[in-house]
């Protein structure tokens, strides 16, 4: 299924998250976001929530208005509903892309079929989220698409603090010490390291590592993360993998080390 809002529904009782009052999510870089959504009430909560999270938000209530505002530029991310009066979300994004506008786009949709997702991404969307969704899921995904490196510079190594990942040789090391990782563990760590300091939700990790667009009912991802923690953080003073309460996981160096 789609990355719907069920990402953490089954994880309510997972102690890990309840106890981790932990450090607030990574330093938030305020973004300028355009919300293109015809349902006024839904848009209202989106705008409120995003503002509450410290972002600047503009709202367009239909496709045509959305295209005009988006074309003026200056947005870090566009949140586009797929079903819009006037001009539907897919066509809007196709128009933008045709003019060379590469502003990251996150589609929102009430449709959940895999085909819809594929169509959305093909039209030029960067990610796709099915309503209803948890706000934390939306925030994590906007951060991920907004900070996706543009022009995709070829990187062969990823580095966070003293943790290094060699993408060609598929090896990991921390503080110069080699760490043995299995294939999926490596992919999991890679997904976290590609977005250092950003929250990765469980559904995002499941999508990136396993290419599954449904939510398992139990805390499968949590167990994988705890295994990875054993290998990455055990024996080091500074933990790199952090649990973000109500959202997911985040890999980053602590404030002092940063």
């Amino acid at each position: 299924m789609m990355p719907g809002g069920r990402s953490h529904q089954p994880h309510q009782l997972h102690g890990d998250r309840r106890l981790a009052a932990g450090p607030a999510p990574a330093k938030m870089v305020p973004m300028h976001i355009l919300v293109i959504e015809d349902d006024a009430e839904a848009a209202d909560y989106l705008v409120k929530g995003l503002k509450e999270s410290g972002h600047g938000v503009a709202w367009a209530k239909d496709g045509r208005d959305g295209l005009i505002q988006a074309a003026q530029g200056g947005f870090d991310v566009l949140i586009v509903d797929r079903m819009l009066p006037g001009l539907d979300g897919l066509s809007l994004v196709q128009h933008l892309r045709a003019t060379g506008d590469a502003t990251p786009v996150l589609f929102l949709s009430a449709l959940g079929e895999v085909d819809d997702r594929v169509r959305g991404l093909r039209a030029g969307g960067d990610d796709y989220l099915v309503k209803p969704f948890a706000f934390a899921e939306l925030l994590a995904r906007i951060e991920a698409v907004a900070r996706r490196p543009k022009g995709a510079p070829v990187t062969t190594t990823l580095k966070v603090a003293d943790l290094e990942l060699d993408l060609l040789r598929r090896t990991a090391s921390r503080g110069g010490k080699q760490i043995d990782l299995q294939s999926k563990e490596f992919q999991l760590l890679e997904a976290l390291m590609r977005h250092p300091g950003q929250v990765m939700t469980r559904t995002m990790l499941l999508e990136k590592v396993w290419d599954y667009h449904f939510d398992p009912q139990t805390n499968v991802i949590d167990v994988h993360i705890s295994r990875l923690r054993q290998k990455i953080d055990r024996g080091f003073d500074e933990p790199l993998i952090h649990t973000v309460r109500g959202a997911g996981y985040c890999l980053r160096a602590s404030e002092t080390a940063a």
């Binding site: 299924m1 929530g49 509450e52």
Partner: protein, 467 residues
């Protein structure tokens, strides 16, 4: 596995049309038997009676002459008639009271006992001009004249007997031919009808497997079978309409309630973002958020099932390697199983392709693994097995499901009493079943002795029946 030809013959013999054909054949054979019997009686019986009557008439004539003109006259008559029949077409013999030959064209009394009607059947030797002697059959009757003299009058009947036996053989052959033709006709007739019934059965099996769009073909002959097909099709249309209606209602409710639920959740999330001062307020909001998410989860699961049942995902079917899918799932669940102290293993061929929707199939198997891990106590063993067909099973050695409950747990929202306390919405197996049906398969729950074995059987229906 029984021989296919035998199975097909068995099926043919089991059909009611074939039984009717057999009854018809029996009646037909009985009337043919009666008709041929009468023919036999009318032809050969007539010949028998004619011979008997002429012999009787001749005896009466000779007896009359004996009474009026005495022995000598009779002897003279016998001699005359014997001379007229040198080749023994008619047979005469006159003996004295001691059995000595007096006259006739055979030299002594035949050594046979008369039958119940007083007829003697015996061979006579016949010599025709330039041919060797032949033994031919004759029948005769004896008559005792007053004074102890015995008279034998008979006819040579070899040709007639041969003809009679020919007629008998011909009639029997005719009867046998009638039976064979009737049997063959029965086969053809019942096979023709069976084909129509088979078409109906094939369609109903597809429908039972979940493809409700199937309809029974109508041949255009406007016979009873076409009427039956048309009626069944109309009934199926009605059922499909009702099911679609129900599906639409579920869909609409889920859709309509999803939006306000989403807003509810957004509101709570925004409220939580403002970091309420009071810990109590925060806890209340968090609990409300959790409840909202459970509701949303249930609606999403319902919509997933509705979507799988609608069958629109068939468009996204693609060939996929089952071993890779299984390996990925094992990989995903292995740490969770290990954390619970369970063994998770998988068996199956290294190459097996299935045309399926990867996401739905993976989700269905994930649901089964989730359940197995949730309900199997520590130290247990869970296995994911793929067999050619394909048949994919997830089995555990946990508490299992009592046989009486197995059908029941497939219904939506049903959860076993002892699991009420654990998280879950009772829709997991319903989704698995919907996904199995979407792929033309069938889900079965069985006793793993101990434990539960859930199998998704994607073999063609006929193969499933024979197994």
């Amino acid at each position: 596995m029984p021989d296919i030809a035998y199975v097909r013959l068995r099926r043919l013999l089991d059909t009611s049309t074939f039984r009717l054909a057999l009854i018809y054949l029996a009646l037909f054979a009985a009337s043919a038997f009666a008709l041929l019997g009468y023919l036999y009686y009318a032809t050969t019986g007539f010949m028998d009676r004619q011979t008997a009557e002429t012999i009787q008439a001749e005896i009466s004539g000779i007896a009359e002459q004996y009474r009026t003109q005495g022995l000598l006259r009779v002897k003279e008559v016998i001699e005359q008639r014997s001379a007229a029949h040198p080749y023994r077409a008619s047979i005469y013999l006159l003996t004295d009271p001691f059995g000595h030959w007096l006259a006739g064209n055979i030299d002594r009394w035949p050594e046979v006992q008369p039958d119940a009607d007083g007829w003697l059947v015996f061979p006579v030797s016949v010599e025709q001009e330039d041919q060797p002697a032949q033994s031919r059959r004759a029948i005769a009757r004896s008559f005792t004249l007053s004074g102890g003299f015995s008279l034998l009058v008979g006819r040579e009947v070899e040709d007639r007997l041969v003809l009679q036996s020919r007629i008998k053989q011909a009639l029997l052959a005719g009867l046998a031919l009638t039976l064979v033709l009737g049997l063959a006709g029965g086969f053809l007739l019942s096979r023709g009808l069976l084909r129509r019934v088979d078409a109906i059965n094939r369609t109903t099996r597809h429908i039972m497997a979940g493809d409700l769009s199937r309809r029974i073909p109508i041949t255009g002959s406007r016979d009873e079978f076409d009427q039956l097909a048309a009626n069944l099709n109309a009934m199926l249309d009605q059922i499909e309409r009702l099911l679609c209606g129900m599906r639409e209602v579920t869909d609409n409710i889920a859709h309509d309630l999803r939006t306000p639920l989403n807003r509810l959740r957004s509101r709570i999330e925004v409220a939580l973002m403002r970091e309420p001062e009071a810990a109590e307020t925060r806890a209340l909001l968090e609990q409300s958020l959790a409840d909202a998410e459970v509701m949303i989860g249930t609606f999403n699961a319902l919509l997933d099932i509705a979507r799988a049942e609608a069958g629109s995902e068939r468009a996204s079917f693609e060939p996929l390697a089952l071993p890779a899918l299984v390996a990925d799932l094992i990989d995903l669940y292995e740490p969770l199983a290990e954390e619970k102290g369970l063994m998770l293993e998988h068996h199956g061929p290294s190459q097996l392709t299935m045309v399926a929707n990867r996401h739905l199939l993976a989700q269905a198997l994930a649901n089964l693994l989730d359940n197995a891990i949730k309900y199997t106590p520590a130290g247990g063993r869970i296995s994911l097995t793929v067999e050619p067909g394909p048949v994919i099973s997830v089995s555990d050695n946990g508490p299992g499901i009592p046989e009486a409950e197995r059908e029941h747990v497939l219904e939506r929202f049903v959860r076993l009493e002892e699991h009420r306390g654990t998280p879950g919405n009772g829709l997991g197996l319903s989704l698995v079943q919907a996904v199995a049906r979407l792929h033309g398969g069938q889900m079965t729950l069985a006793d793993n002795q101990p434990g539960l074995k859930v199998s998704l059987d994607f073999r063609q229906i006929s193969g499933r029946r024979a197994a």
